[in-house]
């Protein structure tokens, strides 16, 4: 979707104003730590996945997306996931208490399982039997498409010419996975775009931006 989250190349957000790494706190408020723990540890609706998480975050109204801090985005996603999946009601979210007589589950991930599970989570490579359409060094064009659902094809590369730098093999396809329509793995490539191609004649002739793109985002050029 062409949402406010797709920020690459947009102007007007102000200075980066980085904090000094040596003095930056791990958390900027205690609740951020709790929100991280909740997000990582809670039970999600069946079939929920990281792409769905990202998509729900993108569905935040634009003004809210820009106004809320990072872990508050996570709060919004977790609540939306719970409500949408029927795991909690609005009244429960507001009150912080389970409705009288509601069922209590006993299948949450246990604390003593966390360390092992973080080691095994997040593997997105998948074996493919189809050969890659594109070769390293080949010129490709990012398609000019505007899906209304989740996509990882940023607007700033659509329609632009690039060169395949890396072939990563088969990876889960977020555009279907985010909508619970299966992993539908595709070949994933890193494609390099010159700054001139992306931003015009005033851009650096030397610099480039590399973007990870699934095969169906690309066409031969």
């Amino acid at each position: 979707m062409n949402g406010v989250h797709d920020m690459g190349g947009t102007h007007g957000h102000g200075p980066i104003a980085p904090e000094d790494e040596k003095h930056e706190p791990l958390w900027h408020a205690p609740w951020e730590a709790r929100m991280l723990g909740i997000t990582r540890g809670m039970t999600y609706p069946k079939g929920f996945n990281i792409d769905r998480f990202r998509h729900i975050r993108e569905l935040m109204p634009p003004a809210l997306y820009l106004a809320r801090s990072y872990y508050d985005h996570w709060y919004a996603v977790c609540v939306a996931a719970l409500l949408n999946g029927g795991l909690a009601t609005r009244e429960e979210i507001k009150s912080g208490h389970a409705a009288p007589g509601s069922a209590r589950r006993n299948d949450a991930a246990r604390g003593d399982q966390v360390w092992q599970s973080q080691k095994t989570q997040g593997i997105f490579t998948r074996e493919l039997t189809t050969p890659p359409l594109f070769a390293i060094g080949q010129r490709v064009r990012a398609r000019n498409i505007n899906p209304t659902g989740h996509t990882r094809l940023p607007r700033y590369v659509r329609g632009k010419l690039g060169v395949v730098r890396i072939h990563h093999g088969g990876h889960v396809f977020p555009d279907t996975n985010a909508h619970m329509q299966g992993e539908a793995p595709q070949h994933l490539y890193t494609v390099a775009f010159s700054m001139r191609e992306l931003w015009g004649a005033d851009a650096s002739a030397r610099d480039e931006t590399c973007v990870d793109l699934w095969e169906s985002y690309l066409e031969p050029a």
């Binding site: 980085p18 809670m42 039970t43 709060y75 939306a80 009150s95 389970a98 949450a108 080691k119």
Partner: protein
């Protein structure tokens, strides 16, 4: 190309998100002269998060020990010292460095650092003529398994927006000014590949041990926004 629109799903989520918006509404604090969008009261997310935690425990949807365990993992076990170990090893061991640049995931596996947000790693080598910079324009993808919690600026709009269109301006804001002879390569983490920059080893570090070298390596240098500085008090 797959086009997917599931109105029922998307509409439902929009409705739910608007619920969260209503939760943060504060009619008694309303001030129309004020920029409402930017006036987040710090205690509000704290209260909402606390209510969510209580509810999830109440319903058996989270083990409170799991919340603590995840927090502890990122507070005391998973942080930028991991990435620094990789960098220092690459600086002292040319064979390891070659393996790292060839297949970082396999080279890092023996360290035990692979995990969530860091199962598929690519390492990018900075040289006198190439400078690499990592960003995620679409969300905030970051090599958590090697660097721990991402810094706040990395997740915020200014860095996400500008890195791909004005990386030299971004670097200058971090105090790094690169000459025209240096090529800047920006890596936008749009997939599950996690990028780690291998910074240049600073001059004046010939006599340092691997552990001492690791002490010099900063998180920001492994994102690519700064260079690694030599040891203080030593002439390069």
């Amino acid at each position: 190309m797959t086009r997917i629109a599931i109105p029922a799903y998307d509409g439902a989520v929009n409705a739910e998100v608007s619920v969260t918006e209503s939760l943060s509404d504060h009619p008694h604090h309303h001030d129309h002269a004020h920029d409402h969008a930017g006036s987040e009261v710090p205690s509000d997310p704290a209260l909402r998060t606390k209510a969510l935690e209580s509810l999830l425990i109440d319903k058996g949807l989270v083990d409170p020990a799991a919340i603590d365990a995840w927090v502890d993992a990122y507070e005391s076990r998973i942080g930028p010292r991991r990435g620094a170990q990789i960098v220092a090893r690459a600086w002292v061991d040319p064979q390891f460095k070659a393996r790292l640049l060839q297949d970082a995931t396999r080279a890092i596996e023996p360290f035990g650092f692979l995990g969530r947000e860091g199962q598929h790693i690519v390492v990018l080598e900075n040289t006198p003529t190439v400078h690499n910079l990592v960003v995620c324009t679409l969300c905030s993808c970051y090599p958590w398994g090697l660097l721990g919690l991402p810094p706040r600026w990395y997740k915020a709009a200014p860095y996400r927006a500008r890195s791909v269109i004005d990386p030299r301006g971004v670097l200058a804001e971090f105090g790094v000014v690169l000459g025209d002879e240096v090529e800047v390569r920006v890596w936008d983490s749009t997939a599950e590949i996690r990028y780690l920059v291998l910074p240049e080893r600073p001059a004046g570090t010939d006599g340092l041990s691997e552990a001492e070298l690791a002490e010099l390596v900063t998180r920001d240098a492994m994102i690519g926004v700064v260079k690694v500085e030599g040891p203080k008090g030593r002439k390069p």
